[in-house]
């Protein structure tokens, strides 16, 4: 809402006009001043003058010689415009004046005749693009005053952000009311007296929808003349950001800015059958609105009809058929009270957000219709002539009276703290126009222009607002025991572990495109969760897996020249299955996903870096599991959608499959345009974060160790992990560590086998191991290997 300070001052005598100070006050009243603009005349030395005489130029027939009085006797000015006659009031740029565009006005001689200045057009003053001639002023303004005063310059315009609960503040009187409460000075609405003539409108109004239309007030003004509004009116509207159209339309906007009540003017002659009916529309009906768009009406639309059909969209936009035009002679001025949700839905349905609908959908004072209507009618007569008929149409379908609520001082103190006396609370509420009776509780009657105040807490808010938020102390509530849960702490541990091996946390959008989903290899499209009203196709489907998003991020990086990538994300995935938490909701499981490609792990000069692949992915898994203290981990070699079938495994923790780890299938690397192998993994987060069994501490053995290596020939189909596990188990608890240090197949190794070399360290917790004691253990370990089909090499 744009507020002109000079216009506002018609409603209140402010103790200051300093724009910075007023901005602060308005902001602290809840009407944030987003900016303010100091408007100044874009010219100097232009004054109001009167053309007292016009004569022909002796030597030029396109110009005339005018005598112009600016209060100190006539001055001779030559003027080329012909749109005025003797007696016209005009804007005169005196010699020395500077006009917009740095146009210097001096004394000149035109074909032998002296000219002392210039009679200005709107265009020359930068006020508009009217080229029809010079600016002829309305009325009989005082001669010699600076012309800028007529259009109220200099002035300040505040740009206020009005919160949606304060429709009353979308008006000068509303702003004045709040300032009045703050400064404790009265505000006023200068009267516009109405002198009606006998007679009543021939038009009858019928409200058939008392929910949608609470009240319909109208007056008829007959015999008007449509023309431009006076300069001051047009410039006030311009400051408010409203385009001047014609005097009658300008009046509706002018009064709306002043009082906050939108109005609509019908050309009375266009109302067919002399009757207006307010009701919901029927299917198939259409209405051409003022913007010349044909609107298809729905049964929820609230429409004003005449005998020929729809003629206006209530509270939103008038119809083209009943629009006020240059030919209009009789005007029916309407001010009605509309149901806010009805207007809100209708204006959005039709994409018609107008100044009127913005106010009505928030709630305009239902008891303001008559006052706004009378004010507009009086102003139409001032600007357009004609006469207002005495008879008023005022249909009240649903009367709405002021609301009364009780407020205890204890409640005020409970929310706002101690120190609010009855006098202060009463004073504040009364300053806002509320009536306060009683002692404690206070019985407060709230005027109908404040639809936001219905409950005691709303009154408390008003007390806090006018008291001033900046006057409250700062205190802290008594502390409570808080903290992160074990799962929340473990999530941080998990993320730190991944960061510690060089992975970056990614945040990807929780949507997935069909292309990326199928490019990744996800086949199960039946259970996807879809957005019902996506803005774009890319945001129409919720991701059932984190991996396409992470792979998309990898693609983005590769395209920008970064080829070594390590990303992880811990976030939700969605399917259309019912959630175990609440069956009404879709399943939304938190998962951990990672994607690595290119160099991974530590690097050293001159040493070929490790390249991400399936085995790196398994290392990430083991690292995560170790960091979280999970011991009961097994891998079941198998593929999954998107995963390379031969280089991936299901991850089994405590008997449950919690996800898959391995390598992206070649089709996926192709789709995501990734040049190398891609290590991927995705696990359910909840089992990872579930507390792992506490480690039971074992005192390190003080006895010396025995180290030896075993080199096996192992059939290709036997997992190395099984061999390690079997040999370790055969050593009956003596193996402190077992490390595979070489795996080789090729020349020198029997076909269908791998050579696997394992370094063991054995140590007893009870005694020093002797060679004698180790021998049978070693044999048992070898035997365990053999039972898997392995043979000791070189044996």
């Amino acid at each position: 809402m744009r507020v002109s300070l000079l216009w506002l001052q018609e409603f209140i005598d402010l103790p200051t006009t300093d724009p910075g100070e007023l901005s602060g006050v308005l902001t602290m009243l809840g009407h944030e001043v987003e900016s303010y603009e100091i408007l100044q005349a874009d010219w100097s030395d232009v004054y109001v003058g009167r053309v007292s005489d016009i004569a022909a130029h002796p030597d030029a027939d396109k110009v005339r010689v005018c005598q112009v009085d600016t209060g100190s006797g006539p001055e001779q000015i030559i003027c080329g415009a012909w749109n005025f006659s003797e007696g016209a009031y005009v804007a005169v740029a005196k010699p020395g004046a500077v006009l917009p565009g740095d146009l210097q006005i001096g004394q000149r001689t035109i074909r032998g005749v002296e000219s002392n200045g210039m009679i200005c057009s709107e265009n020359e003053l930068g006020l508009g693009d009217d080229h029809t001639g010079i600016l002829v002023l309305d009325g009989e303004p005082e001669l010699g005053i600076p012309f800028a005063e007529l259009i109220e310059l200099p002035d300040v315009v505040f740009d206020l952000s009005i919160t949606s609960n304060r429709p009353d503040a979308m008006s000068l009187v509303g702003i004045a009311r709040d300032l009045s409460a703050h400064y404790r000075v009265p505000y006023r609405v200068a009267p516009r007296p109405l002198s009606p003539v006998p007679g009543s409108p021939d038009i009858a109004v019928k409200i058939e929808d008392p929910i949608g239309c609470r009240r319909f007030t109208a007056r008829e003004i007959r015999g008007i003349t449509i023309r431009r509004s006076p300069l001051r009116v047009r410039h006030r509207l311009a400051k408010a950001g409203v385009r001047a159209i014609s005097n009658v339309v300008d009046v509706t906007n002018y009064v709306m800015i002043e009082l906050g009540h939108p109005l609509h003017a019908f050309d009375a002659a266009t109302i067919a059958g002399d009757r207006l009916v307010v009701r919901r529309a029927s299917v198939g009906e259409t209405l051409v609105t003022l913007d010349d768009v044909e609107r298809k009406l729905t049964p929820d639309d609230l429409i004003i009809y005449d005998a020929e059909g729809p003629t206006s969209m209530s509270g939103t936009m008038g119809g083209a058929r009943s629009e006020v035009s240059e030919r209009t002679v009789d005007v029916l001025m309407e001010a009605a009270s509309w149901d806010p949700p009805t207007i809100m839905y209708m204006s959005r349905r039709h994409g018609l957000m107008s100044e009127a609908s913005r106010r009505f959908e928030r709630g305009v004072d239902p008891n303001l219709t008559d006052m706004a209507n009378a004010r507009a009618a009086a102003m139409v007569v001032e600007l357009a002539g004609g006469a207002v008929l005495e008879g008023v149409i005022d249909e009240i379908a649903t009367p709405i009276g002021p609301l009364t609520t009780d407020l205890t001082l204890g409640h005020v103190e409970r929310i706002l703290g101690p120190g609010f006396t009855k006098d202060e609370v009463t004073g504040i509420l009364e300053s806002l126009g509320m009536e306060v009776a009683g002692n404690d509780p206070l019985t407060v009657t709230v005027p109908t222009y404040r639809p936001d105040v219905t409950r005691p807490i709303d009154l408390i808010e008003e007390v806090a607002r006018i008291h001033g938020y900046d006057r409250f102390p700062a205190t802290l509530p008594v502390g409570r025991a808080g903290g992160l849960t074990a799962e929340q702490r473990r999530l941080r541990t998990l993320k730190s572990a991944l960061v510690g091996i060089g992975l970056f946390e990614a945040v990807t959008l929780p949507f997935v495109t069909q292309e990326d989903l199928s490019g990744f290899g996800w086949a199960d499209t039946d259970r996807l969760l879809h957005v019902a009203n996506p803005l774009r196709d890319e945001e129409a489907t919720m991701r059932p897996t984190l991996l396409p998003g992470l792979l998309g991020a990898a693609r983005f990086n590769v395209a920008r020249g970064t080829d070594s990538i390590g990303l992880f994300e811990a976030s939700r995935t969605f399917t259309g299955a019912p959630s175990p938490m609440d069956a009404r909701l879709p399943d939304q499981v938190e998962r951990l996903g990672w994607v690595l490609t290119g160099d991974a792990g530590p690097s050293a000069l001159g040493v070929a870096p490790t390249r991400a692949d399936a085995s790196v992915s398994f290392s990430v898994l083991r690292h995560v599991m170790a960091a979280l203290g999970h011991r009961g981990l097994t891998l079941q070699p198998q593929g999954a959608p998107g995963f390379h079938p031969g280089r991936s495994a299901a991850v089994i923790l405590d008997g449950h499959v919690i996800g898959h780890v391995g390598e992206l299938a070649p089709a996926g690397t192709g789709h995501f345009q990734l040049p190398e192998r891609v290590a991927i993994g995705e696990l359910d987060l909840a089992p990872l974060l579930a507390p792992a069994p506490l480690a039971e501490a074992v005192s390190p053995s003080p006895f010396p160790h025995v180290d030896f290596d075993l080199s096996f020939l192992l059939p290709l189909d036997v997992p190395v992990g099984d061999l390690v596990q079997a040999t370790v188990e055969a050593a009956s608890g003596l193996v402190e560590s077992a490390r595979v240090f070489d795996v080789f197949h090729g020349p020198g190794v029997t076909e269908g086998n791998r050579a696997v070399a394992i370094a063991y360290r054995l140590r007893s917790a009870e005694h020093t191991l002797t060679n004698e004691a180790v021998k049978p253990v070693r044999l048992a370990m070898v035997a365990a290997g053999e039972s898997l089909g392995a043979r000791l090499r070189g044996a």
Binding site: E32, L476, F504, T562
Partner: protein, 349 residues
């Protein structure tokens, strides 16, 4: 020449000879030339047996003294030469420290997560717990329970992403705010409640430099027997000082949210210029940064969650993690957060 004179000569010549030794090997040679068997000192030592018994102790004492003094000089020189050799060895071992020959990888948490963690930790320090809730949410929790009736503009489709799921009356949607977590927490816990809820929120929004359809909010809620407006101010002032620096001042101005009454908008004094600098890169010269919306929990919200607003009161606040991060790090395009460009992410290690 008698023995004493010989010893005196040796002692006089020793310092120059010892200093002249440039290496440990040369010093060894100097030592045997001075004190060895075939040296003048060796000659004296050998001649001792043939000396007059009266003279022997005198010569002997002199011999010992000269020997010790020379040995002292030799040791000093040896120590110096050893240090020199050590230094040379170390010099040979010198590396180019500017050459990054090895590197351990280090990733980073996403900057948004770092902001969230830091904010959460400040409130955990005040005794808050951390709550989580579903992102695919029921209309009841996202709107009705938060005093946002069906006729509220925020419920219109233009802002909310609805899901094609479940019954129409359940209005399954992608939560537009983290506030529904408040309600769910209150349903499951009795007061006192001190809780923060970080998480993703969704809006039907066109992506540009300042908008994303998915972003992160951090919601806070305190409900207790005697929570007052000043507690809201004090808590957020503490938070602001912890997050933006100890000199930070806060300012509240009235605002409107359906789920709080009274409602406020909190600004903090600009941490970059403290309000003193026109055209400041952070605040643009305004001196203040709007960072969060807050207010006293509306009684309708307490009631919807099953609390008695006559018994308990509370405050709530909500802020955007993206905005907090952008303000702090001078990030000018919100899309950086979802591009996951490693050249961007690695700046936040």
């Amino acid at each position: 020449m008698d023995s004493t004179a010989a010893l005196d000569d040796v002692l006089a010549a020793a310092p120059a000879a010892i200093d002249a030794a440039a290496t440990l090997e040369e010093l060894d040679r100097v030592e045997s030339g001075l004190l060895g068997k075939s040296s003048p000192v060796g000659d004296v030592r050998r001649s001792m047996g043939g000396l007059d018994p009266a003279e022997r102790p005198i010569i002997g004492a002199r011999l010992n003294e000269v020997t010790e003094r020379i040995q002292g000089m030799l040791e000093k020189r040896r120590a110096a030469l050893e240090m020199e050799r050590e230094a040379l060895l170390l010099e040979d071992d010198r590396i180019d420290v500017s050459l990054e020959s090895h590197s351990f990888p280090l990733g980073a948490l996403h900057p948004i997560q770092q902001t969230i963690d830091e904010i959460v930790d400040i409130f955990v320090g005040l005794g808050y717990r951390v709550a989580d809730g579903p992102e695919a949410e029921l209309g009841w929790y996202n709107f009705d329970a938060l005093n946002t009736p069906p006729t509220h503009p925020a419920r219109l489709e233009s802002d909310t992403l609805y899901l094609a799921h479940g019954k129409p009356e359940d209005e399954v949607l992608l939560r537009t705010q983290t506030s529904p977590v408040q309600v769910r927490w209150m349903e499951e816990h009795q007061p006192p409640v001190y809780v923060v809820a970080p998480g993703k929120v969704y809006r039907q929004e066109t992506t540009d430099a300042t908008h994303l359809p998915v972003f992160h909010q951090i919601e806070g809620l305190a409900v207790d027997q005697s929570i007052q407006f000043s507690d809201l101010i004090g808590t957020l002032a503490h938070f602001s000082r912890e997050f933006f620096g100890p000199e930070t001042r806060v300012r509240l101005r009235p605002d409107f949210f359906p789920f709080t009454e009274p409602s406020a908008d909190l600004s903090v004094s600009c941490f970059a210029c403290d309000g003193g600098q026109p055209g400041c890169r952070v605040c643009g010269g305004a001196g203040w940064l709007e960072i969060l919306g807050c207010g006293m929990v509306d009684p309708n919200v307490l009631e919807a969650a099953g609390y008695d607003p006559a018994q308990v009161s509370g405050f709530a606040f909500g802020m955007g993690a993206e905005r907090m991060t952008m303000v702090r790090h001078g990030i000018n395009d919100i899309r950086h957060f979802i591009d996951n460009d490693l050249r961007f992410l690695s700046q936040f290690r």
